[in-house]
Amino acid sequence: MKGLQTEALTIRFGGLTAVDGVDFSLTPGEIVGIIGPNGAGKTTLINLLAGIYAPTSGRVVFDGEDITAVPAHRRAALGIGRTFQLIHPLEDLTLVENVMTGFLFAGRRSLRAAREAAAALCRDLGLGGLNRSTGELNILETKKMEIAKALAVEPSVLFLDEVMAGLNSTETLDVIRMVREIAAHRNLGIGVVEHVMGVIKELTERVVVLDGGRLIAAGPYSEVSQDPRVVSAYLGGSV
């Protein structure tokens, strides 16, 4: 079994069950939307898959192996990449060095090789000025750097947590194109979290909807967006 599966994945923080018995899967080559209200558990789900949190119960399986107990840094090496909703660039490193880290540690490349790979990757994503400090980047560049960092672990599954948030529509379209290309060229499974439904509609073949930590609906966006539960919990009257 290629890709990532979860079985009844659950995590509780104190009294709050942030992710509640979720069965989710992502296989290379597909782009899946993960949507749901604020606080539904989307980011937490990604953190569980990336190994940042250990689940209270349930399993995570990757390429057929149980990785529930595998720590985050080894999951990165295995090929699970992710971006962060609240972006924290490594601000004491330059743009290219930020991107290098994945090649260095997850990919275990030499310094030189990692730097070359990072430079090439940045070029692919249209990022210039490689030796700038991260404070000098604008939001679009920051978001692209975030994607580059996630790609630097050479993932087979990739999670993008609201990378389009805060971009205007031109920029958003630019990033959508980029994500498509990435998916096509690298045969990745990509999980996309976004609150902008235009993006979800454009980009994804399949959507899962979380609410209160539970998976309440799944299917193509066109179907899911008609689901009354989804409309009342999430979309409201706006779309």
Partner: protein, 233 residues
């Protein structure tokens, strides 16, 4: 009410705003523009967070540029910052109360305003005892708006309020802003131009630290450039 005239502003050697002028006369005003255009810089300049190196900012006839932030807040401007900036270890109620408590003219009417805020955001009434830091992103955004309202501002500034909000709440928020602008002047920056144009009366488009376009909501909505850059999706 708020007039920004020929303002220069930046960070160290980087100049972001150049000779910028705009005004908020009342109602709701939108501020649009690509990333890094200087929207937040302008707002922070108004709030006294960024230093203005040239030009002037007046609010209700008084010069407020380079005044300390707390004075500006006391003077009747409240901000909902892009990063929310709540007090994570305080409860929802404490966060709201402190919004009024520190502003002399809002202090005595605190309980009254609280009811108004709860009216706009019923979820906050349900969660009064919850620590602000444990609320979800969208709830925190509502709390930040509520907290700003507690200061009884005559001008409310919101910096990208819809960022990261679920669609239904974005919609709701703009509906509320639409109601609010009847009593309070509103200045809002947004990437979600489509939603905001529903609510604002006038708008400015900012690029590279300069105003490149100004007009009523309708004028902007029909501008081909705006259409292309901001309404494509």
């Amino acid at each position: 009410m708020l007039t920004v005239e020929n303002v220069d502003c930046g960070y160290g050697r980087l100049q972001v705003l150049r000779d910028l002028s705009m005004e908020v006369a009342g109602g709701a005003v939108g501020l649009f523009g690509p990333n890094g255009a200087g929207k937040t810089t302008l707002i922070n300049a108004i709030m006294g967070i960024n230093r203005v190196t040239a030009g002037s900012i007046t609010f209700e006839g008084r010069g407020i540029h380079n005044r300390p932030t707390h004075e500006i807040v006391h003077g009747g401007i409240a901000l909902v910052p892009q990063e929310r900036e709540l007090f994570p270890g305080m409860t929802v109620l404490e966060n709201l109360r402190i919004g009024a408590e520190q502003v002399p003219h809002a202090r005595d009417r605190g309980e009254e305003t609280l009811e108004t805020v709860f009216g706009y955001f019923p979820i906050l009434r349900e969660r009064t005892k919850q620590l602000a830091g444990t609320m979800s992103g969208g709830q925190q955004r509502m709390l930040a708006v509520g907290r700003a309202l507690m200061a009884l501002p005559r001008l409310l500034i919101l910096d990208e309020p819809s960022l990261g909000l679920q669609p239904s709440i974005v919609h709701e928020l703009f509906t509320i802003l639409g109601e609010m602008k009847e009593h309070v002047a509103v200045l809002v920056t947004e990437q979600n131009v489509r939603e905001s144009l529903r609510t604002v009366d006038r708008g400015y488009v900012l690029e590279n630290g300069r105003i490149v376009l100004r007009g009523t909501a309708d004028e902007l909505a029909n501008d081909p450039e705006v259409e292309r850059s901001y309404l494509g999706l």
